[in-house]
Amino acid sequence: MVQFLPTRLDASFAALSDATRRGVLEQLGNGDASITELADKFHMTLTGMKKHVGVLEQAGLVTTQKVGRVRTCKLGLSRLAEETAWIDEYRRLWASRFDALDQIVEELKQRETVDGPRQSE
């Protein structure tokens, strides 16, 4: 995942270098849309719009989902970054928990040194 990040960033910038693709992102910011709707909106062929959406999808800026015959596009901005940040925060939570647990385990160990091992049930 770490090595993957710079590539993803390059892809994001490449994807944003095109006016149509920036327009598609703005459009999707207002709501999800199908490839057909986007093609109509930007007066393009379906094939042309598919290519643009493909580039945005590669960059992680858009995600698509096919339901029946319709492929719906939605903003997938920084999904990877979002997930990485979440996992890092979650790790911080667990690290804090375990730090507190360490203290309690230490107390219990000392109690045993004094009282001798407690019988487990």
Binding site: V2, L5, I87, E89, Y90, R97, F98, D99, L108
Partner: protein, 172 residues
């Protein structure tokens, strides 16, 4: 700091790792300096558990916590946070309680999308490796859990994208 980092090497041997090991599973690991019997006790005695489960540094307070720690037993924790007027309840049931090696519980506050948590305790040379698996019913459920914890971040990112698009538009 490396944004892809998922562990804290600075913490030395007490390293906590978190990894999304599959589309629907998160795994947390940490080695605790003590025998499994004692570590397990700290996880299963409610009076001890409530002292470490909710870290003070996160601004969360544990309002109440009750647990009947045995197979089939229920637990319920109520937590408060300054940013929320309503306290949040976390509850579920213990599916397995096997001293001193294994604990399994459900997380039912999320309805059908709740994870099943499995904690294993492996003792080696007086220390215990604790592995926490959180298995969600689907990829969507885990994605949702991750997104719900950071919804406020989205607006900021869209603003950043808007700013970037503005710059590119001006240049183009």
């Amino acid at each position: 700091m490396d944004p892809g980092s998922q562990s804290d090497p600075g913490a030395g041997k007490a390293r906590t790792t978190v990894e999304r090991t599959s589309e629907r599973e998160l795994v947390v690991t940490r080695t605790v300096d003590g025998p499994a019997r004692i570590v397990f006790e700290a996880w299963t005695r409610p009076d001890l558990f409530r002292r470490w489960w909710v870290p003070k540094s996160f601004g969360v307070t544990l309002i109440s916590y009750e647990a009947d720690v045995r197979t089939g037993g229920a637990y319920r924790a109520v937590m408060g946070h300054p940013s929320s007027e309503q306290p949040m309840a976390f509850f579920g049931r213990y599916l397995e309680v096997t001293p001193p090696s294994r604990l399994v519980w459900t997380n039912e506050e999320g309805g059908d999308d709740g994870a099943v948590t499995t904690v294993t305790f492996e003792e080696k040379a007086g220390a215990t490796r604790v592995v926490v698996h959180e298995l969600y019913p689907s990829k969507d459920a885990l994605d949702e859990a991750m997104a719900s914890g950071s919804t406020s971040g989205w607006g900021e990112q869209f603003e950043q994208l808007d700013a970037l698009i503005d710059i590119l538009d001006t240049e183009g």
